[in-house]
Structures are given as structure tokens and as C-alpha cells.
């Protein structure tokens, strides 16, 4: 019995180690190819220094290029903010990609939240802009839960307003945290999303200057339906755009 158990353990251990190696085999070094170029590198910092292939050579210059100088090739490529800081990766993180407002009831609010995290890592400033494809819409219909007008009827996609009375039905969002637009005066201040279907352009909801590392804001989505709202699933697509300064 003991002998059998030891053999069994050994077999299981061998199989486990085998599986372990088979998993690791999928994560080898980066090698990017296309029919025209092959670029190999040992780390992800691909834009620092020099990139070469048989066909081309790209040098990212760091530091000031003297005015009026070509290096003989007839071009100068300056990647990043030459006078300020070598280029870095600009990144946007969204903590959750589905917002669930659950079952809505007339006269009460439902909410859901997620976070936006921005890193410019030493680049210049940045802005995060937001929009929606259309107001919350009953699937395959043109029935909407309108964008909120807030309590006084004054808020829109550019300006937040106080919204605490759920009888003032609609859909809106609030931002709190780092670098958020100043019109979000408190967590009771809400805006509409810019409605792309209504030719509205994306509006800035976060912005920062200088070095921005781990800038973190919480987005609260809030909705309340009108008394005669048709039942069903209402949807939209919210898009956040991260754009660096030039």
C-alpha cells in the first residue's frame, strides 16, 4: 500500500512538473515579425536607443538637436519630449469594463463604479476625454433613458450639476479623485456623457500637467428611470480616450 502510494505520488509529481514546463514554454522572449521587418529585443523598452533591420535604421534621439542640422540622412526623428524628458509609455487602465446598474426602479437611484488610472511616466500633461455612443437605450429599439439634466435642469456634457432627487430621471456620471474636472464639486455632482450619436464631441473629465504617475479617479455611474419607462435591458458604450500633450 505504501509502495503503491509512493509510486502514485511520483507519477503525479512528474506529470505536474511536465505540465509546469509545458506552460512556461509559451512565454518566451519577444520576437515581432512581419513579411518586411523583424525586430528583436530583450525587453519591452523598444523605443529607447536604436532599432535596426536589414532595411532600415531608426535612432530615437534624446537631447536637443541643434537647430539647422541634419545628420546626413535628411531626417531627424525625435521621439518623446526632447527638451524635458526621454519618452516613456503613456498608459490607461480601466478597472472594470462592464457597468451594471441592476434593476432600475422609478424614484430611486442605482449606481456602479470603476476606476481610471493614468500614467504618463514623465511625459508632458495629459487629458482623459469621455463619450457615449448614445444614451442608455433599450436593445434594438430607439427607447432611451435620457441623459440626466440633474436637479435644476442645468447640467450637460460639459458642466456637472447637483443630482440628488431620483424623481429627476436620467443617466449620468460623477468623477472623484486625482486631476478630475473642477465642475465635479462633490460626489453629488453629475454630468451627461457627450453623446456621439447627437454629434457631441468627447469632453475632458481628467487632466494633468507634468509628471503624472498613478493618477487615479473613481467614476460613479448613476441612473433612475421615469415612471413610464419600458422594461428591458438598456445599454450604451462609454469610451475613455487618453491623449498626451504635444
Amino acid at each position: 500500500m505504501n509502495k503503491f502510494s509512493t509510486v502514485k505520488k511520483l507519477v503525479i509529481a512528474t506529470l505536474s512538473v511536465g505540465c509546469l514546463f509545458s506552460n512556461y514554454a509559451t512565454s518566451l522572449a519577444e520576437r515581432m515579425t512581419s513579411s518586411q521587418y523583424v525586430i528583436e529585443f530583450g525587453n519591452f523598452n523598444v523605443t529607447s536607443g536604436e532599432k535596426t533591420s536589414a532595411n532600415y535604421k531608426v535612432t530615437d534621439t534624446v537631447g536637443q538637436i541643434s537647430p539647422g542640422e541634419y545628420d546626413g540622412s535628411g531626417y531627424v526623428v525625435k521621439a518623446g519630449f526632447q527638451y524635458i524628458y526621454p519618452f516613456r509609455t503613456l498608459s490607461l487602465k480601466i478597472s472594470k469594463i462592464t457597468i451594471d446598474l441592476s434593476e432600475l426602479t422609478y424614484g430611486s437611484f442605482n449606481t456602479d463604479t470603476h476606476t481610471l488610472i493614468v500614467d504618463t511616466n514623465g511625459a508632458g500633461g495629459y487629458a482623459v476625454k469621455a463619450s457615449e455612443n448614445h444614451p442608455l437605450r433599450l436593445l434594438n429599439t430607439s427607447t432611451d433613458i435620457r441623459d440626466t439634466l440633474c436637479d435644476s435642469g442645468s447640467c450637460d456634457e460639459s458642466t456637472a450639476g447637483s443630482w440628488t432627487n431620483a424623481n429627476n430621471y436620467g443617466f449620468g456620471f460623477n468623477l472623484s479623485g486625482n486631476d478630475v474636472a473642477t465642475d465635479f464639486a462633490s460626489t453629488n455632482y453629475f454630468r451627461q456623457f457627450a453623446d456621439v450619436s447627437n454629434a457631441e464631441t468627447m469632453k475632458t473629465v481628467m487632466s494633468g500637467t507634468g509628471v503624472s504617475v498613478n493618477r487615479n479617479a473613481t467614476v460613479t455611474y448613476k441612473a433612475s428611470p421615469q415612471a413610464t419607462q419600458a422594461a428591458g435591458n438598456y445599454e450604451t458604450l462609454v469610451t475613455y480616450q487618453l491623449i498626451a500633450t504635444y
Partner: protein, 338 residues
């Protein structure tokens, strides 16, 4: 029996670990996390020449994404340096050098992977000297986030990298920096700070940077504040607010960050001259002066208030003193009457 249970437990544990523990964990909580590098590329190029540049996209999220890239022109908002994107692309000499990835067509980027896009700028010989500003806008659609697969509000992202292409025969910086506006008070309180907002305009032909500094000189001729401008890009024909700068060492690298133009002394008094010098890299130095008068307004108000309180206090004492003097006389009178 105990041995058998132990073996079963061990088997289950190892199989569980093998199947799940060693695999990358995919999304109990779906994070979209996308990076782009560099955020800005400036190419100065002669007509008839070609150049290559790269943009890297990195999927740091915990699920695969479909990326769609396209170019659109941008303009300046004349204030912040945040590009204002348009719907069109006017520069037609930029192409993506990739057999598998095409502009305006979604391509897959698996979680943890990076895709390097190689772009070629190839100008015809007869290109005129001009500058183009456009952005590479990358739509990020989480694959598990198809709008039609689920109810609720779906969220997606876009990330933008900017390009400036200067077509120039000489590569000479032809930027001309002009002072667009200078906002500073004429008078201020001695206990407050001197602040200034400076907006510069580029009247030249290409994107350039504002070099120079701002000094504040007191009535004795001493420089009490001096700060170099942070050399940020200003597009030709556009304006931008410029800031002071501060050198910072982060992770062993020296770089500059933006600082507001602000001087706070212990007690400011008299005229302070704000001397602005500025120029583009290929331009002669320009100068602008503005004088701020610091007056002890709050100190004077304080003194006046103290004086008023003193007056009220002394008058009150005087009144009470008279009252005390008057009361015994009345009392005596009362006694006499009774």
C-alpha cells in the same frame, strides 16, 4: 483508508494546481490596461527623403483586445497643449509598414504582449516646406466586451500618440516666439504671493519651444526669484501657456517638471519688477517687463481694526466711568428723598 484519502487529496491538489495554479489567471475582474510609446514623435525631414519611426502598443490588461488604429489631424487649443482632434487626415505620405496589420482594421493583441508598428514617412521631391500635425488614435476593444453579448453599459478605451512632421530643406528651427499675454496684478498685498500667467504665441513656420526665464527684482535691485521656462512645444500659428520648471531626479534620471510662476516672500513691500526673457532656439532673445506694487494692505487693515477696537474700548470705559460716577449721586438723592 486514511492513506487513500491523503492520496486523493494530494492528487486533487496537484491536478488543481497544474490546471489552474500554473496558468495565467484570466480575469476574475476585467482590467483594461493599454500603453503606447512614445506619446510624441517629431520628424524633421527633407523633401524627397524617407524616414522610419515606430510606435509600440502594449496590452497590460488581463484579457485580449482588438486594436484599431487610424490617423487624424490635430490642432491647438491655444492654451494647454492638449491636441484637438479632427475627423480628417491631411498628410498622405505616412504608411504603416506591416503585412499583417492595416490602418482602420482591427488586429488582435493578446494579454501581456506588445505590438510594434513601423511607419514610413516618404516625401516626394517636390514637397513644399510645411508642417503637419496628426495623432495615431488606437481604439481598444476588449474581446470579451462585445456590446451585443451582454446587457449593461460597456466600457472601451482609446489611446493617442501624437506626430509632428516638419518638411524642411534645412532643418533650421524657424519658430518665432511672441508674448501673447501676460497676466499679473498691478497691486498686491504684502502678505500674498506674486503670481503670473504667461501665454506665448509661435509666429514662425514650425513647431518650436519657448526658452528663457522670468526674474523678479525687488526695489533694492536684488533678484529674489528666477526660474527657467519649461521648454514645451508650441505649434506654428498657435499659443500655449508656459510654466516655470523644476529639475527633479527620479529613478536616477534628471528631468524637468512644470512649476507655476509664483514668488512668496515673508513680507513684500514696494515695487517688484518682473523681467521676462524669451526666445525660440533660433531666435534672438526678447524682453518684457512688468512692475507689481506690494502694499501692506492687510497690515493696514489690521492696524485700523485694532485702532477702532481700541477706540470702542476706551469710549466704552469712559461711558462706564461716567455711569459709575452718576449712580452714587442718584442713590444719595434717593436716600435723601426717602
Amino acid at each position: 483508508m486514511v492513506q487513500k484519502n491523503k492520496a486523493a487529496t494530494l492528487t486533487f491538489t496537484l491536478v488543481f494546481l497544474t490546471m489552474f495554479g500554473m496558468q495565467p489567471v484570466h480575469a476574475q475582474k476585467a482590467d483594461l490596461n493599454i500603453g503606447i510609446s512614445p506619446p510624441l514623435t517629431h520628424i524633421i525631414i527633407q523633401p524627397g527623403k524617407s524616414a522610419l519611426t515606430t510606435v509600440s502598443l502594449e496590452n497590460q490588461g488581463n484579457f485580449d483586445v482588438n486594436l484599431t488604429t487610424n490617423f487624424v489631424d490635430f490642432t491647438s487649443d491655444n492654451k494647454t497643449g492638449i491636441p484637438v482632434l479632427s475627423d480628417n487626415m491631411s498628410f498622405s505620405y505616412m504608411s504603416l509598414q506591416d503585412a499583417e496589420v492595416h490602418l482602420n482594421t482591427p488586429f488582435l493583441l493578446k494579454t501581456g504582449n506588445t505590438k510594434q508598428l513601423v511607419f514610413e514617412v516618404a516625401l516626394p521631391e517636390n514637397s513644399v516646406e510645411k508642417e503637419y500635425h496628426f495623432s495615431l488614435v488606437t481604439d481598444v476593444e476588449p474581446i470579451q466586451n462585445s456590446l451585443h453579448d451582454q446587457s449593461g453599459t460597456a466600457v472601451s478605451g482609446q489611446i493617442v500618440s501624437n506626430f509632428i512632421i516638419t518638411v524642411s530643406r534645412t532643418a533650421k528651427d524657424q519658430g518665432i516666439i511672441e508674448l501673447q499675454s501676460f497676466e499679473a496684478p498691478l497691486f498686491l498685498d504684502s502678505l500674498s504671493a506674486i503670481t503670473a500667467k504667461v501665454f506665448m504665441h509661435n509666429a514662425g513656420k514650425n513647431t518650436t519651444v519657448t526658452l528663457g526665464n522670468l526674474r523678479i527684482v525687488n526695489v533694492l535691485g536684488n533678484v529674489v526669484y528666477e526660474n527657467d521656462f519649461l521648454p514645451e512645444n508650441i505649434l506654428p500659428g498657435a499659443g500655449r501657456q508656459v510654466f516655470g520648471s523644476e529639475s527633479v531626479n527620479k529613478d536616477g534620471e534628471e528631468y524637468k517638471i512644470e512649476q507655476p510662476i509664483r514668488y512668496k516672500g515673508l513680507f513684500l513691500l514696494g515695487p517688484y519688477k518682473l523681467i521676462l526673457t524669451y526666445h525660440a532656439p533660433g531666435q534672438e532673445e526678447q524682453k518684457f517687463e512688468h512692475t507689481v506694487f506690494a502694499l501692506p494692505i492687510s497690515a493696514l487693515i489690521f492696524v485700523i481694526l485694532v485702532y477702532i477696537v481700541y477706540l470702542l474700548y476706551t469710549k466704552s470705559n469712559l461711558f462706564q466711568g461716567r455711569s459709575r460716577k452718576a449712580k452714587p449721586e442718584n442713590g444719595t438723592q434717593h436716600k435723601l428723598d426717602s
